[in-house]
Amino acid sequence: MTAHPKNETLLEVESISLSFGGVHALSDVSFDIRKGEVRSIIGPNGAGKSSMLNVINGFYHPQEGSITYQGKRRAQMKPHEAALGGIARTFQNIALFRGMSTLDNIMTGRNTKMSKGLFWQALHFGPAKREEIENREFVEHVIDFLEIQTIRKTPVGRLPYGLQKRVELGRALAAEPTLLLLDEPMAGMNLEEKEDMSRFILETNEEFGTTIALIEHDMGVVMDISDRVVVLDYGRKIAEGTPEEVRANQNVIDAYLGVSHD
């Protein structure tokens, strides 16, 4: 829960509107994320939270609005641009590579840092091997950090749900992200697992200074670890501010309790 001393804006979305056919996933949503903060995005199911992350990531292209990241403004993000720019994420329904081991999955997170081409790969001895070992060392730090040493070589398809979520976090961390997007990282976890995950998220934010955008349903977690919160409902932003401000906001209370609108 640190506010970076400089408080500069890392990411800003302005008037983002996104629709699929007749379905308006997002309507005129604007907010910013400051460097070094933990920004939570909350809202009832179907509010458009994941769609918002997908827009930031470049998977969905909004019909209207703009995204400004690290000072550069654009109408839409391309996935590769986002990745190279230091944006990493986890997914709501785990998107790990099931045929590969934990180690290999996390190593794929290093992909943007590795460059030796086919020729060196075929040779193996020499530059490709050095690059592999260098990156392996970094990945091992991530593995130590997340305490998943024992499952290094296990194919991820065989891991229990909670550990898979942790491996997915590891893959995102391996990319040394500037902005980390987490889509419901605690979904389906028990209390202990949630505490572990919160600890990892906070340590990532405090020790490495990683800016974090977090979608989460557990209000306790949100209140505990967020610096600021954005609330979406039916694709629109209905409130934002510190956790305390948002909790007291009548619109937010109505949205969650489902008061009928005339």
Binding site: P79, L84, A95, L118, Q121, L123
Partner: protein, 358 residues
């Protein structure tokens, strides 16, 4: 008890990443290589070379190539036969144009030509997947075979439409044509396959191999973490086609000696290589060899058993073979979709405990 890793601790990432981290495996493989390179050539005869070992190695190479594309990168291809033809015809024309150049170099260039063709026909993979892509590769299969059949330039306008390999010497040793000794053919093929297998293994366990598997398992997530689908898929097509092209050049030059597109490289060939990697195990280097052994040895076995043993007509034996092949495909897909390679792994797991029950 004999196959335990006890006491084999790795103290560096380098050791951990080795191809055969377990000492017993290393010994076993070195043993096989020694026998293959130093023992077999002295006892090999015409039959064993021409009917079993050379085709086995060539099909294993084709299987390796297809496995890279389909097993590791998840792009289905039914065009293997046509790509083998590209390699074969490329080597045929190159030897005609540059008879003085080393055969190995010409084979390598044939592989590069096939890689280029593979990339072109692989472009659709950027927009379509699964068996829709398989249909696109069928377009490649039928079109290329038609091309090699129709355009006289490819077969030097020979009236029979066939291409026949010229007698070629490799550092003074005849390796193609009727005068090549079985040992020469075998060693030439073996050296190429052994080298290419090593490079395949190197590529597959590194960054490029991981990006292929990522695309296979979940291409959207792969793109979102920064793996470029274009590069990954096209590099898979390129490397795969290179291997298949070299296999095709060897298939024509060393194994068959002469070839005609509709017989040697038609859609059935594409199916055979696909069967090799299904039976051998998708996504496994070892699997290509096990599958090739299976596909090559089955007809031999059938012939010996049925024709020799039971006196069945060879035509009928052929029919039974087709039936058996289909049944085995279904069997493997149901019981062990990861093929013989997985069965081998399971056997090794059991070996670690043997002779103790648990």
């Amino acid at each position: 008890m004999f196959y335990r890793e006890n006491g084999q601790f790795k103290s560096s990432y380098s050791a951990d990443q080795a191809i055969f981290p377990i000492a017993q495996d290393r010994v076993f493989v070195i043993g096989i290589l020694l026998i293959a390179f130093c023992g077999v050539p002295f006892v090999i005869n015409e039959y064993w070379a021409n009917a079993i070992l050379v085709p086995l190695l060539v099909y294993a190479l084709a299987g390796l190539g297809l496995n890279i594309l389909t097993g590791y990168c998840g792009q289905v291809s039914l065009g293997t036969g046509a790509f083998m033809a590209v390699g074969a015809y490329a080597s045929f024309k190159l030897v005609g144009f540059f008879p003085e150049v080393n055969y190995l170099i010409l084979i390598f260039v044939s592989g590069l030509v096939t890689a280029a063709v593979g990339v072109v026909f692989g472009l659709p993979s950027l927009r379509i997947k699964g068996f829709y892509l398989a249909v696109a590769t069928l377009a490649a299969q039928f079109f290329l075979i038609w091309l090699f059949n129709k355009v006289g330039w490819f077969y030097d306008h020979s009236p029979t439409g066939m291409i026949t390999v010229r007698p070629i010497d490799f550092f003074g040793v005849r390796v193609t044509g009727p005068e090549a000794t079985p040992a020469a053919k075998y060693l030439f093929t073996l050296t190429i396959i052994a080298t290419l297998t090593l490079t395949a293994k190197n590529i597959v366990r590194g960054r490029v191999g991981r990006s292929w598997m990522a695309i296979r398992d979940m291409d959207i997530a792969a793109e979102l973490i920064g793996i470029k689908p274009l590069q990954a898929k096209l590099s898979a097509f390129a490397v795969s086609s290179f291997y298949i092209g070299v296999a095709g050049a060897l298939y024509f030059g060393v194994y068959l000696g002469s070839a005609e597109p509709l017989e040697a490289f038609d859609i059935n060939q594409s199916f055979y290589v696909l069967f090799i990697i299904i039976i051998g195990g998708l996504g496994s280097i070892l699997g290509a060899f096990l599958g090739a052994a299976f596909i090559v040895l089955l007809p031999v076995l059938m012939k010996n058993l049925m024709v020799g043993g039971f006196g069945v007509a060879s035509g009928t034996a052929g029919h039974v073979e087709i039936l058996l092949l289909g049944a085995l495909i279904i069997f493997f897909l149901i019981v062990e979709p990861h093929g013989l390679a997985r069965l081998w792994q399971i056997a090794k797991e059991k070996l670690r405990l043997w002779p103790f029950p648990h």
